[in-house]
Symmetry: C2
């Protein structure tokens, strides 16, 4: 054979913007996804897993630029030169699937989907190019009963995954009310309406007075730069402010405020009626204002959605990276979008849905200490005599058959210290030892590694020498003694 030129060694490195997940990071997420799927299923939603790859056209990206074909998405050309891409969310694939299978799917179609999505964006701290989404959508239901159902389901889901009532709030707003407000303002053109929308989007950051300035002459931002305003008069801007600040203690009062804000707008009245219907339905289902509330200050997604908009916030405080207290914030958002399927079929199909940020929700549960406590590794059966591997193998089989996670040491057994170091790295609660002497006497040594570690930290030499964390028991008592120690530590 001709000698091949050696390729240089590849770097062992996670691609930039991607992550690897280990152990409980994987299993805790899997557990959460299962819990969420159970709630969605209970509500009559059916699972859908579409392909991770879509045509760029189906995703709604057009005519790829040859120099940067994959702006925003990861894209390539297939054998027929068609541009393909990894999905960037689970909504665009739903639209494609619904358009494709609409004659076979029930109408309305409730579906849930969970899985990774990919974004070709500049990565940053906590911002990855691959992350999980977990969506539920109802396609083909025009009634806001569908929106109310999604809000109720979102509330149930948060409680089921371990966020207690009081630690979260689902807030509901409606784009149609905002449209009514814009109508009543007498704006000069669509460009000005777009400017107002953009300004509203900053409400979260700059607050009421900031929005007032930005709708008017403009505003000095924190960096000292002057941001030009939309140029409205104070009177003209008033309905927007009234809308954003309309939330009152009593929901009836909120609606009254909103009616003031939309003036005589038909569209605005319709939007308020929808919110009233949602509130009524949720009330009938027992979802009070401690779980779901009408809140016109929700602005996230108002530009994107066409009707009701919802957002779930965790209301407890955490310490940020600089040690300052702040609210944990949003873990889920959604709303009504009525034009997605139309791209494919020409027919508008009403749809509403929600997306849960699973990784943020996991982070919240970790923050609150509800998951990710002490992880217990497997029981490790050490190898004192490599010729008796079968004996050790029999021990782990016994332990596993008793439902105990266990493994035999598979490295080079020569150095016993390495075996204990290994058990330590595995966070093993128990090590089992059977040397030739023990074998002869029909006994085994069982080390309580958790107690051992505590003693090592705190005990005096005298105490340590007594080694009360190691027990000699009959070989036949292996399972019983190991279980006793495990029970002690759980």
């Amino acid at each position: 054979m001709a000698k091949q030129k050696k390729a240089p060694r590849p770097k062992a490195q996670t691609p930039k913007g991607f992550r690897d997940y280990f152990g409980t990071e994987v299993t805790e997420r899997a557990h959460m996804l299962k819990t969420i799927a159970d709630v969605y299923h209970q509500y009559g939603f059916d699972a859908l897993e579409s392909s991770a790859v879509e045509t760029v056209e189906a995703l709604g990206k057009f005519l790829p630029d040859v120099d940067r074909p994959n702006e925003g998405v990861f894209a390539w050309q297939d054998e027929d030169d068609a541009w393909m891409a990894l999905r960037y969310d689970l909504t665009a694939p739903l639209a494609r699937v619904y358009a494709q299978y609409r004659n076979d799917l029930p109408l309305p179609y409730r579906r849930y989907a969970m899985g990774p999505v990919w974004r070709n964006e500049k990565p940053g701290p906590g911002r990855y190019r691959q992350f999980y989404q977990c969506d539920a959508d109802t396609v083909g239901a025009a009634s806001v009963a569908a929106d109310a159902e999604i809000c109720a389901m979102l509330s149930d889901t948060l409680e089921r995954v371990g966020i207690p009532r009081g630690d979260y709030l689902v807030r509901v707003n409606n784009r149609k009310v905002l449209n009514g407000v814009l109508e009543t303002m007498g704006l000069s053109d669509e460009a000005q309406a777009a400017d107002v929308l953009r300004t509203i989007d900053k409400f979260d950051k700059v607050g009421e007075s900031g929005v007032r300035e930005l709708l008017g002459k403009g505003r000095l931002d924190a960096s000292g730069a002057f941001i030009d305003g939309v140029g409205l008069s104070a009177d003209q801007a008033e309905p927007v402010i009234a809308f954003l600040t309309s939330k009152a203690d009593q929901v009836a009062k909120t609606f009254e405020n909103l009616r003031g804000a939309v003036g005589g707008s038909q569209m605005g009245a319709e939007g308020i009626a929808e919110l009233e219907q949602i509130a009524e339905l949720l009330d009938a289902g027992g979802y009070g204002a401690d779980r779901i509330e009408i809140d016109p200050s929700v602005v996230r997604g108002l530009g994107y959605y066409t009707g009701p908009v919802f957002e779930a916030e965790l209301t407890f405080e955490i310490l940020d990276e600089k040690g300052r207290k702040r609210q944990f914030g949003s873990v889920s958002g959604g709303g009504r979008y009525d034009d997605l399927v139309k791209r494919f079929t020409g027919q508008a199909v009403p749809a509403t849905g929600v997306s849960i940020g699973v990784d943020r929700l996991l982070a919240a549960l970790r923050e609150k200490g509800r998951i990710g406590g002490t992880v217990q590794g497997p029981v490790v059966v050490t190898v004192m005599d490599r010729d008796r591997m079968a004996d050790y193998q029999a021990m782990v089989t016994e332990l596993r058959n008793a439902g105990i996670r266990a493994e035999v040491y598979l490295g080079n057994p020569k150095n016993f210290g390495n075996q204990l170091k290994y058990a330590d790295k595995r966070e093993s609660p128990v090590a089992v030892i059977e040397g030739g002497d023990e074998k002869e006497r029909g006994v085994i040594q069982i080390k309580d590694l958790i107690l051992g570690a505590k003693l090592a930290e705190n005990a005096s030499l005298e105490e340590w020498k007594e080694r009360p964390s190691q027990y000699e028991v009959a070989r036949g008592d292996l399972v019983a003694k190991v279980r006793e120690i495990l029970d002690l530590h759980t």
Copy 2:
């Protein structure tokens, strides 16, 4: 705003070679993955979820050809012009991860991984460009105890997902024995050895006599074409045949036959000793020949792996697409590969592992009727009066709180027939009806749709008219009556 030129409507179509999965296709797979993960975990394996994207170098594809950069994988260039690709299996990413984190990972490192992989290959019937793999590997263990453990775990896994003992067999072979055979044959050069390997790979298809012909002068294949042989004499070919057919009823006899086949080869003797050790360890664990057997006729992967090789076969017969009986065949394979990490670090690290074809395993369980029976949809609460949506909402909430999957009809309620058609499409077992009249009388109608469907098929008009599948009960008995009907049908 300037009017934008309308883009043509995208086609609603799953990309070629990809699939969408619906409902139980998704949940049954998720359930199987969870079951497998539980077994792996019990054996001390830790979860790993690496990024779906790797550098092309890390995957072991070199210098992409500019015209076909993505031969075999789906690849693209990132912002730094580096070639990235979707992983094509879970083993290459394991090698990268192990090389990258080796100082933090325990040694040996037992890990499992499950998820989609992507192949840029010509799709065909049952061959998709995206499919699930479910792998377990032990990195850093030179001892064949690691291989034996993988075989035992594979056996446990198959039984746990629902393949009863007797319906499967894990077969074990060893590349080193084959190397011994090749050594003893006195081949002229490496090219001839490669030819022999390629021929052995056809043993599954052409059988003993076919391999004999192919090792000698050559063979007329089924299509009438003549395939040139390796050109060995009958004597020279004999050790190969002896190796492939060495399996006897008693494992001791199998080993005796193998010793004959490897002659004086040191490598061959070592390989046999390894197989003997594996057999002994499995025996000690209670894994008899009804579950795992030494079988030198296993040739799949012999060319790829460097030591023990294993394959799990389902032994029951199914009917193929042409109605002919055939064995279901392989659902899993694996073996020892010692050079994967070396690509990154320069150091050889021993490793062994197994990959389960989850989709094939699911197909097998469906074939045997163990999953995918009658699917029960949700209870559907119909809408007789759209102004009383809150009443219907309250009913589904009651049902859900009682643990019953339920939904309210969210389509246009005008045509009641459409609501029942919807319930039918959803495979609902029960429909609940509350019109204005029922509301006044404090009752509801509960339709047993399963019984109703049976009556519709078999009953006479008279029987049908009596409608014994519909019950009027007090509103307060909603949950009790629905549960009674559900219990009847499960």
